[in-house]
Amino acid sequence: DAGITQSPRHKVTETGTPVTLRCHQTENHRYMYWYRQDPGHGLRLIHYSYGVKDTDKGEVSDGYSVSRSKTEDFLLTLESATSSQTSVYFCAISALQETQYFGPGTRLLVL
């Protein structure tokens, strides 16, 4: 998985609770991305980062925030989880804002 880890790999939480997912890379790539994958939809971009402390919104950013304080770590936070945020979340990295390499994913269930 191109030196990408995600934690936790599985999480069950309750509506209204905050949740933070972590993506860690060992490739020193500049660009990092968070996607969600749902049946009937392609991978959809939530947020991305183009450097430490530099982030921007993607297609489905409402209800999510991100932070990147180090090159190797990109955090995705659900401030108050809702059932519509039940999904599989993938982190991806890219050196030159082209080919993206994906992590193993986090399965999140919001009850």
Binding site: G42, L43, L45, T99, Q100, Y101, F102, G105
Partner: protein
Amino acid sequence: EDQVTQSPEALRLQEGESSSLNCSYTVSGLRGLFWYRQDPGKGPEFLFTLYSAGEEKEKERLKATLTKKESFLHITAPKPEDSATYLCAVQAYVGNQFYFGTGTSLTVIP
């Protein structure tokens, strides 16, 4: 609006039966087209990047081709281990965002 459509949604092949998967796209300036393989419960695995019409890339039993409107992933003499979902994505020059299709689920029967 930039978008990607993959067909068929699902494909069942006998081992050794060659076929093609289609990825049709509309994008305002194609920067790149990407193919990924995804196994159940795992993240997408990069296969190919194509940049311009007429370009072809090969890897084992897979060959990807690109025209101005679509890309094909040709699978020659598939084996059961080729069973997976194949995803196509395009990257536009404007905004540099990726747009993914919903994938083709391939099953190869021994």
